[in-house]
């Protein structure tokens, strides 16, 4: 039976890697996650026959915990709206980190009980003890940090500092956690273990609070990688190769994903983690002359219907207004007028890289009509109309032209090279970053003021009546 359990873990590890590999293309991704799901079920069922799982009461507890935890997660996962996906990913990730932390607590308590004042390390072996402590810290930080990330993305928590001299508190807590870890290592009692976990949880909170909401997806990705690493360490502590392999694969993949995301925002990871203090840039007042030219939704609709080529640039404002379904209706109508329509997506549109793609997919937009910035940026020149909905900073030419601008150097969509630009926007104010957008003052730009849902609805009516 033991060999059968080990072989099941092996099969699960293979299925995880195949599943992740399949996620590199939208054609195979769904099959991939299903394979990984099969692997998860095999590993979980096999563990019920694991030689060290014994005692009827514990097995009953295992069943109850799986039913409650799994059932609750299934319910929330079915209910969550696509616009709220980033914070949901943060929550599930935090739960995994919390689980890794709790396993570390059980292992350390067992070590302490058996050690009886001779030191946890002598009982567990020093390498295992160190990895248990490391996994405990990382898992706890990922847990409490992810919960703060969720609260920030959900706009329940907006503070950027808890105390004066926040940075020093971070350093102090990190040192304290380390000292407590040393204490746990050398004693055999439960009290230092308790203090150690409290300090580690507080550390996760203090690290995450100063980081701005816009940077949060990168931080979630980092915590995702850290949870993977903590799971890998747990695998070592428990002598379970499936955990080592799955955790490490996720750890490495997550680190790479984190760097890719930071790169898309033209920021370094260190910059995101340590510069959140009062990061709001002083709104650079531009001396650009000119004024915004306003047109109604009907005029905008006519421009697009008589165009040959239209590119649509959707932003988070579109998703908030829930206008993605109406937009797709309009695109289908434009197709009937023989207009070539494409979608252009900036890597950081939405709340998380790739989030905008998910929102458009929800509305039924086929993924082969959606193009990344690098694929489409040269096509704006020669395009008749660009329709921008609820996006601001990612189309601001100041990032390319104005060295004094806070967003200078960020890669943007070159929409200003198009013949005509239509901007759907709720008001005349500056965008999310507080930077004024000179695009709105250009000769070839027309503003359509109003709620995205309402404006696109009127455009649909106009095109229908043509």
């Amino acid at each position: 039976m033991d060999l059968a359990v080990q072989l099941s873990y092996f099969a699960a590890a293979v299925l995880f890697i195949i599943g992740l590999k399949a996620m590199s293309s939208p054609v195979t991704a769904r099959r991939g996650v299903m394979w990984a799901g099969v692997g998860m079920v095999i590993a979980t069922v096999a563990t019920l026959f694991h030689p060290s799982v014994e005692g009827v009461s514990n097995i009953v507890l295992i069943f109850i915990a799986i039913v409650i935890g799994g059932g609750f997660a299934w319910y929330t996962a079915i209910k969550v709206k696509m616009t709220e996906m980033p914070q949901m990913v943060a929550v599930y990730n935090g739960l995994g980190g919390g689980s890794a932390g709790a396993i570390a607590a059980v292992s350390l308590l067992q070590g302490a009980r058996a050690a009886d004042d001779t030191g946890v390390a002598t009982q567990m072996g020093s390498d295992v003890a160190v990895l248990a402590l490391l996994g405990g810290v990382i898992g706890s930080v990922a847990f409490s940090g992810s919960m703060i990330a969720w609260a920030k993305l959900d706009e329940r928590f907006k503070k950027s500092t808890l105390v004066e001299n926040h940075q020093w508190w971070n350093v102090g807590l990190a040192v304290l956690t380390l000292l407590l870890a040393v204490w746990v290592y050398h004693t055999g009692s439960g009290f230092p273990i308790l203090l150690f976990f409290i300090a580690a949880l507080a550390l996760g909170i203090f690290i995450t609070v100063p980081i701005g909401g816009a940077d949060m997806p990168v931080v979630i990705s980092l915590f995702n990688a850290l949870t993977g690493l903590a799971v890998g360490f747990k695998g070592y502590v428990l002598g379970n190769l499936a955990l080592i392999i799955a955790g490490t694969v996720v750890g490495a993949a997550g680190m790479l994903l984190t760097f890719l995301m930071a790169k898309a925002m033209n920021r370094s990871l260190a910059n995101i983690l340590f510069s959140g203090f009062g990061a709001a840039p002083a709104a650079a007042q531009s001396d650009e002359e000119g004024e915004m030219r306003e047109v109604g939704p009907e005029d905008g609709a006519y421009m697009m219907a008589y165009a040959d080529r239209v590119i649509i640039v959707p932003g988070y404002g579109l998703a908030v207004a829930q206008a993605q379904h109406k937009l797709w209706e309009m695109v289908e109508l434009l197709h009937k007028h023989d207009v070539d329509v494409k979608f252009a997506i900036h890597p950081v549109a939405g709340r998380m890289p790739g989030h905008m793609n998910v929102l458009l997919a929800e509305a039924g937009v086929p993924y082969d009509m959606i193009f990344d910035m690098d694929e489409i940026n040269e096509e704006f020149e020669g395009t008749d109309v660009v329709l921008i909905i609820g996006a601001n900073d990612v189309v601001n030419p100041a990032a390319r032209e104005d060295e004094a601008s806070p967003i200078y150097g960020m890669p943007i969509l070159n929409v200003d090279y198009a013949e005509n630009v239509l901007v759907v926007k709720r008001g005349r104010g500056a965008g999310f970053s507080g930077v004024e957008n000179k695009l709105f003052l250009r000769d070839n730009t027309r503003m359509v003021f109003g709620d995205a849902q309402k404006v696109v609805g009127e455009m649909v009516q106009t095109v229908k009546g043509m």
Partner: protein, 99 residues
């Protein structure tokens, strides 16, 4: 139980890290959100470790913490799977094909 010696575990660790890097290196931005959620699901395997930890728990305190570990791990795995599947289900090509 197959014993995992320190140096063997180190080899496994290194190879798994390389595999993780290689597997993800060429993923397009379009799939970054589902991928993050999908890799999140995979570290839900921690539930297996939690089951073992609870399985060998002896004192009530160990049982309580082990119970929490299994509960959180199961929630991680199930929630991660369902949201990933929900997102990927929506991705469709404009060319009609069965898949």
């Amino acid at each position: 139980m197959i014993e995992v010696g320190g140096i063997v575990a180190l080899y496994v660790f290194m190879l798994a890290a390389v595999a993780g890097y290689e597997v993800i290196a060429r993923v397009p931005v379009i799939l970054h959100t589902p991928l993050m959620s999908g890799s999140n699901f995979i570290h839900g395997i921690v539930v297996v470790g939690a089951m073992v930890a609870l399985g060998v728990a002896e004192t009530p305190l160990e049982q309580l913490i082990g119970f929490v570990a299994v509960l959180l791990g199961a929630a991680n795995a199930v929630g991660g799977y369902v949201v990933t599947e929900r997102m990927l289900e929506m991705f469709k090509s404009s060319k009609k094909e069965d898949g």
